[in-house]
């Protein structure tokens, strides 16, 4: 089936005679390992409808579906490595039919995230970072889910920072004031430490940096380093170097998830210490004492035991679950409102920081209620509005108060942030009900709308792309190199009118997947304010607006009719496809969709597993979706399912050598 398809549709331009784009398909080897790159490229081109090009005969849609499925299976369900490539696995192949078995995750080392490194410093007792300590790590700047295990390592500049940080940390640990007792006693050059003291120091540093006791082999090696240093240095110096080395260990800087636990038919359970760290860092930025203790006591060896701890952590208000809000921030990307620069508006206040804080609060509010979370996030009619919490000086109680307050002495008739939400005063009851038929859910929060806007305009293309990627599970190829994308700057036309440049056949192949999903959000201006008309330049009136000498008196605007219609097309779910009259109708439709909910589950999988799903993960995804549905839309239930899934608990690639202690991490 594959060969005839290629012969019919591809070989003429990508064969022996011609190799358009330096690409040929006639000499595929039949060995999937060798062909993988080309098969993935073929799949992507066909799936995106880019090939065969428009002037050629269209292939039969059934053939297209078959080719996509065949190439996906043939490549072993290889997904792209980048976070943005997760959707390359067609949704139907993951959720189309019940999957039999759940797959494990390959053994891996996952470099600490920047926040994970701060957590590491906290675990060392450096809550307030020492002066001079700087962040060694970064994440990809692209939008979306960022921290994938496969993406990051440590290079030379980072290593230099780590070395300096280790030096500073140990300086603090060995200082007479506020130092670590086991270390401070070793700082007298006149009385060299005993072996027992050194062993205690290594053990203490292991406990603080790695949360576990060192093996006998580790102790010997670290004492060996001490001995070598002692040949060239005084004993306090040698002790310090030894202590620094512990902080630089591979298993301190990388989360070790090799699967060193019990063998279960070709795959291995994460060892208790690996699992304890993995669960702690899935939800927060530092190791959680209770779960580390459970690991030490051997009480973290089964799926059920893991589930007990996940539930406990989810319910424990003292454990800071930073990675829950972080997931929603990366899924929705509304915090990018902070990076979109806008001229200061004259008639109202634009303070993106407050808008993002309001949405953070709304997300946490919905997650705390834990009912029908996905639908609520998309369709809630309430919002926090310019909300902050402060102490009431009289009652000494925390209470809600306006976040940004205008200075009455300095205010020239500016509207406060409330106006952006469509309210004329700050509501004391929060979250507050917003005006009827204005906005719903996160995608109509001012923060999200600003995050998906440009300096001067709305950005319906990227808004539509968000809906395509993160709700419909589709994908749009990157902007072709050499295309200078530019919406004409015609201030007398509405943005929708200006955007018609993308209707050109060459552009529309990709833009048809985005624009119509983004245009309903024209309901709002680029500061996220609800509107019923769009202000444009009135050319005629401007031309006439002159003084007696014919000198211009400035531009005149007019209110143009606002069109908020859009279309859902090619969604993969025929029930969804069709026109929508405004953003609220569109979002309601999507929020009710099984497909969109499952795509949300796929994104949660990527965030918490640190990788893209493959075909083999179908069961894990289906189980997580089922857990969510059967619990009435509980995000906690979804998390328990993901964090106790085979993909989370098991590692498929066995440790290469069991005789060497990997990274000495036992």
């Amino acid at each position: 089936m594959f060969k005839p398809f290629l012969t019919a549709h591809c070989v003429r331009c990508h064969g022996p005679e011609k190799q358009s784009g330096d690409f040929r398909v006639d000499d595929l080897t039949g060995d999937p390992a060798k062909d993988a790159d080309r098969l993935l490229a073929i799949r992507e081109q066909i799936r995106a409808g880019l090939m065969p090009p428009g002037r050629e005969t269209r292939p039969d849609p059934a053939d297209v579906r078959a080719i996509i499925a065949w190439t996906t299976v043939r490549t072993g369900g290889l997904a792209g490595r980048q976070p943005g490539q997760g959707n390359l696995i067609p949704h139907e192949l993951l959720f189309g039919k019940p999957a039999p078995t759940a797959a494990a995750t390959p053994g891996r080392l996952w470099r600490l995230s920047p926040d994970g490194y701060l957590g590491f410093l906290s675990d060392l007792g450096k809550n307030k970072a020492l002066p001079g300590i700087v962040q060694p790590f970064t994440l990809e700047p692209e939008r979306g889910i960022k921290d994938f295990a496969g993406l990051y390592t440590i290079d030379e500049p980072s290593t230099e920072i780590l070395l300096r940080n280790a030096e500073l940390i140990v300086e603090g640990q060995t200082a007479r004031q506020n130092g670590v007792r086991e270390f401070v006693v070793l700082m007298d050059p006149a009385s060299p430490p005993t072996r027992a003291q050194l062993e205690a120091a290594v053990a203490q540093q292991f406990k603080m940096a790695l949360g576990r006791t060192p093996g006998a082999d580790d102790v010997t090696r670290f004492l060996g380093l001490y001995e070598r240093c002692l040949k060239v240095s005084d004993s306090p110096g040698a002790v310090k170097t030894m202590l620094q080395a512990v902080l630089l260990r591979t298993d301190a800087m990388f989360r070790s998830e090799l699967g060193k636990g019990t063998d279960a038919g070709g795959r291995r359970l994460l060892a208790p210490d690996e699992l304890a760290a993995a669960l702690s860092l899935a939800l927060g930025d530092r190791r959680e004492a209770g779960i580390m203790l459970a690991a030490q006591k051997g009480e973290l060896a089964t799926r059920e035991q893991a589930a007990v701890h996940v539930r406990r952590l989810l319910d424990d208000p003292k454990f800071d679950k930073t990675r829950i809000l972080k997931f929603f921030r990366e899924y929705f990307d509304y915090a990018n409102a902070l990076t979109v620069f806008k001229d200061k508006p004259k008639t109202f206040v634009h303070e993106p920081r407050q808008l993002v804080a309001d949405t953070d609060r709304l997300v946490l509010h919905i997650v705390a209620a834990d009912k029908d979370v996905f639908r609520q996030l998309l369709t809630t009619e309430v919002s926090f509005v310019n909300y902050a919490v402060g102490k009431n000086k009289q009652t000494n109680q925390d209470e809600g108060k306006p976040g940004v307050v205008l200075n009455p002495n300095n205010n020239k008739g500016q509207q406060g942030i409330e106006e952006t939400y469509g309210l004329d005063r700050w509501p004391a009851e929060q979250p507050a009900k917003l005006p009827d038929n204005s906005r719903l859910g996160i995608l109509m929060q001012p923060s999200w709308l600003v995050a998906y806007s440009t300096n001067f305009d709305n950005d319906p293309v990227r808004r539509g792309r968000w809906v395509r990627d993160r709700l419909l599970g589709g994908s749009v190829p990157e902007l072709p190199i050499g295309v200078a994308a530019q919406v004409p700057n015609d201030p007398h036309r509405t943005f929708r009118e200006r955007l018609t440049v993308t209707r050109d056949a060459r552009c529309w192949k990709c833009h048809s997947k985005m624009d119509e999903l983004g245009l309903p959000f024209e309901q709002f201006d680029h500061f996220g304010r609800f509107r019923t008309t769009e202000t444009v330049l009135d050319l005629e009136a401007t031309e006439k607006n002159v003084d007696k000498k014919g000198k211009s008196l400035g531009p005149v605007t007019r209110e143009a009719v606002l069109n908020t219609a859009g279309t859902i097309a090619d969604s993969g779910d025929a029930k969804l496809d069709g026109p929508v009259k405004d953003p609220r109708a569109m979002i309601r439709k999507l929020a009710d969709s099984e497909r969109c909910r499952q795509v949300f589950v796929r994104h949660a999988f990527r965030f918490y597993l640190g990788r893209n799903e493959t075909l083999a993960d179908a069961k894990t995804l289906q189980d997580a979706d089922r857990a969510y549905v059967e619990s009435g839309g509980s995000f906690k239930a979804l998390l328990v399912s993901l964090l106790t899934s085979d993909a989370f608990l098991y590692r498929s690639v066995p440790v290469a050598s069991t005789t060497t202690t990997p990274g000495g991490s036992r």
Binding site: F137, I154, S158, E160, R228, V232, P236, T241, T661
Partner: protein, 456 residues
């Protein structure tokens, strides 16, 4: 870097320094020349806080509108020959025929109050952290010495030992400016001083060996991509370990050229600290420890230095806002402080000019770039970013006594600091035509390419 420099260390160092002649041509460099290789190019950035008034660059006979706002749409050039430098730059007079005083390059993308921070050498927004590598580190990477980039500087208080607001090694990776001359000395020359510093050097060697071994052990337990992931961490330790070996291999040169630990190091006044850092920079360049040094005097945020020895016991914020001190107007303060920095630069140039290299001297292969992290003033506009260039980088740049006023911001031939940094990368043989982030205020201008008028 643990215990304070002991008296014994200092005495030892004085002994080393005293016996050595400071200006010895290095065998390695002679050999390179004999082998027909191009001599190494050196670049020094001198970054001073509190802005640099365009008027300080104007030699006698050059005028600009009272408003200070330029509107020329073509390059205006005059020769410095037969003209006097402004009093602020007067100490550079002996090097007039090696100077290019550059006006009119803009850097609005980095606009911020009081300092462009990493944006000064990076050409990107001032307050978003390390968005990309800065030009000094890029040049160091293009043309690496044993240590590709050395950052030295001073901050207001001696106990502030690191400034992370000038240089960056890459996105998210700030690079340090070592602001304690004592610690800088130890880390660069500690291997030849004996005592605690040599101990620290040897311990570091041991640590790097141990870590390389430790990463290898971790690697033995994994396969495939995970193994490769650790390669990078392993290579980092090995490269740093290799640096130790290279430093050990030039012990004689280091001994001969290490700065003397004299009063400048013992009395950490502002002037002394800055002078000490300039001496360390000279020695690091002469020995080949590095080819690129960034010297910062304050800089980043509102980090200003008071110079009581110069009669200015207040920080730059005071005279930046028009405040004088007894006997001096605010402008006098600016001039006095700039004169001192120019004196340091002149002395550095003088030192490099005494080191033979090929048919000329080390200075012939050097470029000193003097600018402020705050561009054209205490409250900068950055429509122009005054830059003083000394040296021509082995004949790659045209800097022989020129005063250059580039086309004004907004005119069609306008050039930016990004273009200037591209020019430097071209001059060291690693050409790049785009640097940093474009200025959105110049969206109709092609912001790529070099400043052609500066390239030889």
């Amino acid at each position: 870097m643990n215990v304070a420099l002991t008296r014994r260390d200092i005495l030892k160092n004085v002994a080393f320094g005293a016996g050595a002649s400071f200006f010895t041509p290095l065998l390695g460099q002679l050999a390179a020349h004999a082998a027909g290789q191009a001599p190494r190019q050196r670049v020094v950035f001198v970054v001073q806080s509190n802005g640099m008034s365009p008027r300080h660059l104007m030699p006698s006979g050059v005028e600009r509108p009272k408003s200070g706002k330029m509107s020329n749409d073509r390059l205006e050039e005059v020769t410095l020959k037969d003209r006097e430098l402004h009093a602020a730059l007067e100490p550079l007079t002996p090097f007039k025929d090696r100077l290019a005083l550059v006006q009119g390059l803009s850097g609005r993308i980095a606009l911020s109050d009081h300092s462009a921070n990493l944006g000064a050498l990076g050409c990107y927004p001032a307050n978003k952290g390390a968005l990309a590598q800065t030009i000094d580190v890029a040049l160091g990477e293009a043309n690496p010495g044993i240590i590709p980039h050395v950052g030295l500087g001073i901050l207001e208080r001696p106990e502030q030992t690191l400034n992370y607001q000038i240089s960056a090694a890459g996105p998210g990776k700030v690079a340090p400016i070592q602001c304690s001359p004592e610690l800088a000395f130890k880390s660069l020359f500690g291997s030849v001083t004996g005592g605690a510093s040599r101990q620290a050097f040897d311990r570091r060697t041991n640590l790097l060996d141990f870590m390389a071994e430790d990463v290898k052990r971790a690697q033995a337990a994994v396969a495939g991509e995970e193994k490769q992931k650790l390669d990078s961490y392993l290579e980092a330790f090995e490269a740093l370990r290799d640096r130790q070996a290279k430093i050990d291999a030039i012990q004689n040169d280091l001994r001969k050229n290490a700065p003397k630990l004299d009063d400048k190091f013992k009395k950490p006044t502002e002037c002394n600290r800055l002078e000490a850092q300039f001496e360390i920079a000279a020695a690091a360049l002469i020995t080949g420890l590095t080819n690129v040094v960034t010297l910062s005097s304050g800089g980043g945020g509102q980090q200003y230095i008071a110079f009581p020895e110069l009669g200015i016991p207040v920080g730059g914020h005071h005279y930046g806002h028009g405040g004088g001190v007894p006997g001096k107007t605010y402008e006098d303060c600016f001039v006095t402080v700039r004169q001192f920095h120019c004196k340091m630069i002149a002395k550095l140039a003088q030192t490099l000019a005494t080191v033979k290299e090929g048919d000329g001297t080390l200075l012939d292969n050097t470029l000193i770039v003097y600018l402020s992290d705050s561009g054209d003033g205490h409250h900068p506009q950055l429509h122009e970013w005054p830059v003083v260039l000394l040296g021509n980088l082995g004949g790659k740049l045209k800097t022989a006594g020129r005063y250059l006023q580039f086309p004004a911001y907004g005119s069609k031939n306008h050039r930016t600091m990004a273009n200037f940094y591209c020019t430097l990368l071209h001059a060291v043989g690693k050409p790049r035509d785009k640097f940093g982030v474009n200025d959105p205020g110049l969206k109709d201008l092609d912001q790529t390419g070099v400043v052609a008028e500066l390239l030889a």
